[in-house]
């Protein structure tokens, strides 16, 4: 199955800008389905980005991050063609990782 993580990493002038969109329901646990049952909480808790074996960004998320979550950050370093490893784990223990090339 294709990865749930879409990444756009662009190196420019020594700084790499990273945009990520992840396919995930991000259920908060506060919403009821049509027959009134609470939809159990199911959301990504930690998302990490690694470049050159070093963590460049760690996102810890609670129940208030939008469905199909998006985050943008940038870091010094990173050149065209480098690998960027991205991985997440959610409160149900599911994980997904992907490695992309910096453009």
């Amino acid at each position: 199955m294709a990865s749930s993580i879409r990444v756009r990493a662009i190196a420019n002038g020594g700084i790499t800008e990273v945009q990520t969109l992840i396919q995930h329901p991000m259920d908060s646990g506060f919403i009821k389905d049509e027959n009134g049952q609470f939809i159990p909480a199911h959301f990504i808790q930690e998302l990490t980005f690694e470049h050159d074996g070093r963590k460049v960004f760690v996102a810890d998320w609670g129940t208030a991050v939008a469905k199909d979550p998006y985050v943008k950050f940038s870091f010094k370093g990173g050149n065209k063609g480098d690998d960027l490893k991205v991985g997440w784990i959610d409160n149900q223990g599911t994980t997904d990782t992907t490695t992309v090339k910096i453009q």
């Binding site: 506060f30 939008a66 950050f73």
Partner: protein, 164 residues
């Protein structure tokens, strides 16, 4: 229809050249007694802080210290959210040595929304999309040089549509 291209770029990959007029609003500092110094960023997922129902407590649990108002933080959030399910919020700061950035929405069931750890070399700015239960302040907290700064602005949230 030569200007079609230009308007079409609006609908497809649109790169925001310059930041549009970002209203900088710095509200008062969040004041609460100084608890015992607590190492802020350990590596584990701050479960307790994310579960905390009171936003001041959540910040105390996460950072264990007082946040001062700072005007060096630019918080960009809509005045009226088009939909509480997807509220684009971003923050950038000129403070140095920033080690973490967090977003807190006091009126949400769990006010601590997101906590970002920025290792050295990572630029002090983050954009993300939050969920907001109802009209509330959105507080951006920046940990820089071992001190805690914050700014906040109100985002109006209501449902759409006319009835049903």
């Amino acid at each position: 229809m030569s200007n079609l291209r230009e308007s079409l770029s609006v609908t497809r990959r649109l790169i925001l050249e310059g930041a549009a007029s970002i209203a900088l609003v710095g509200l008062g500092a969040i004041s609460f007694p100084i608890p015992t110094a607590l190492a802020a960023a350990n590596d584990r997922y701050p479960e307790a802080a994310f579960k905390q129902k009171d936003f001041n407590e959540a910040i105390k649990l996460l950072y264990g210290r007082i946040a001062e108002q700072a005007d060096k933080i630019k918080l960009d959030a809509p005045e009226i959210a088009e939909n509480g399910a997807v509220v684009p919020v971003s923050v950038t700061t000129t403070l140095d040595d920033v080690t973490s950035i967090s977003f807190v929405v006091p009126e949400n069931p769990n006010p601590l929304a997101a906590y970002y750890r920025l290792p050295p070399g990572t630029m002090p700015s983050v954009a993300n999309r939050l969920k907001m239960a109802k009209t509330s302040n959105v507080i951006a907290i920046v940990e820089a040089g071992g001190k805690l700064y914050s700014t906040s602005r109100e985002v109006k949230v209501t449902i759409g549509g006319c009835g049903g």
